[in-house]
């Protein structure tokens, strides 16, 4: 298990989370290299299928990093994304896969430190769970 390097897909809002990523870059904070970042104009555009496909393709974890719920650039994007994440948690549970493998995080533009902390937290959680697929 110690050698296990989980593959994680991060859907990041182009507003809050990506600005936080830039701040973290300026702070010389490095994102783990096993996180694949997919930038989206708004997390509200992320469909349920988008969240499932990484698991189908072999990812061990998925997370959405978007705005604070009360200051979403597009008002309700992150709220919608959170509901879809909850739906996928239910689907994973139905497959006897740990729902902790998917999560949603609320960031704001200046939180460069937290952007990296969220990634590290997700890596540690998924690493503790082990690989999701046997094939």
């Amino acid at each position: 298990m110690d050698d296990f390097k989980p593959q994680i897909v991060a859907f990041c809002c182009a507003n809050c989370a990506s600005s936080a990523a830039n701040v973290s870059h300026d702070m010389k904070k490095v994102l783990p290299d096993n996180i694949k970042v997919i930038q989206v104009p708004c997390t509200g555009r992320i469909e349920t299928l988008h969240l499932l496909k990484p698991f189908e393709e072999g990812a061990d974890g998925v997370y959405v990093a978007g705005c604070q719920a009360d200051s979403c650039r597009y008002i309700s994007g992150i709220t919608k994304a959170a509901k879809r994440v909850a739906q996928v948690k239910g689907i994973l549970e139905g497959l006897s896969i740990e729902p902790e493998r998917i999560d949603v995080f609320h960031l704001s533009a200046g939180k460069g430190q937290e952007f990296v902390e969220v990634a590290d937290r997700m890596v540690n959680t998924v690493k503790g769970l082990g690989p999701v697929l046997t094939a």
Binding site: L49, G94, S96, L133, A135
Partner: protein, 222 residues
Amino acid sequence: MIVAESKPIKELLEMVKDFKKILVVGCKGCVTVCNVGGAKEVAILASTIRISGKKEGLDVVVGEHTLERQCDPEYINELKDVIGDYDAVISIACGVGPQFLSERYPDTRVFPGVNTKFMGGAVEHGVWSERCAGCGTCVVHNFGGLCPIARCSKSLLNGPCGGSSNGKCEISKDVDCVWDLIVTKMMEQDRLDELIEFQAPKNWTTARDGGPRKMIREELVK
């Protein structure tokens, strides 16, 4: 529209556990509108089954197809060249779909992927409510445009009953008493006196009580 909900994924997987090639078939009709059986939901269910297959180490092939409608034979025919490539079909149309598929392709195992709930409409985004019981003799004009058969828990034609309280039905705080709505609507239309007229017991032979129903329109029959 006909409103349906997805079957629990565990129940579905149990149904198709012995099959390695599965075709998920959606419908562009009612179940697309109620977000349970259209192309999007076909892709979600197919992906879910593939994830399950990979998790269990099984080599499962899952195909996706969405028909214009599953309640018309000409659209069901679209599958004739592909259905033979699969061991089983999951239809996520209403209950009509899996039956039409089974009738057209008798050698194929067809499974229902949704539970058909009722005829109704969207009262807000993501919320559907029953409006019609398909009784075969519509009488909503007598009740302010509201159907006491579908929307009263007792289907009372001479309501309300004693279970109506503050506009709600005694079965649940979340269920409006349709008779409260009917009386309010008739008062607004200054037609309350029409409710004094006794409604005779309904002839239920046009409803499901008369057995399975069939409709023939001679001008359309070839």
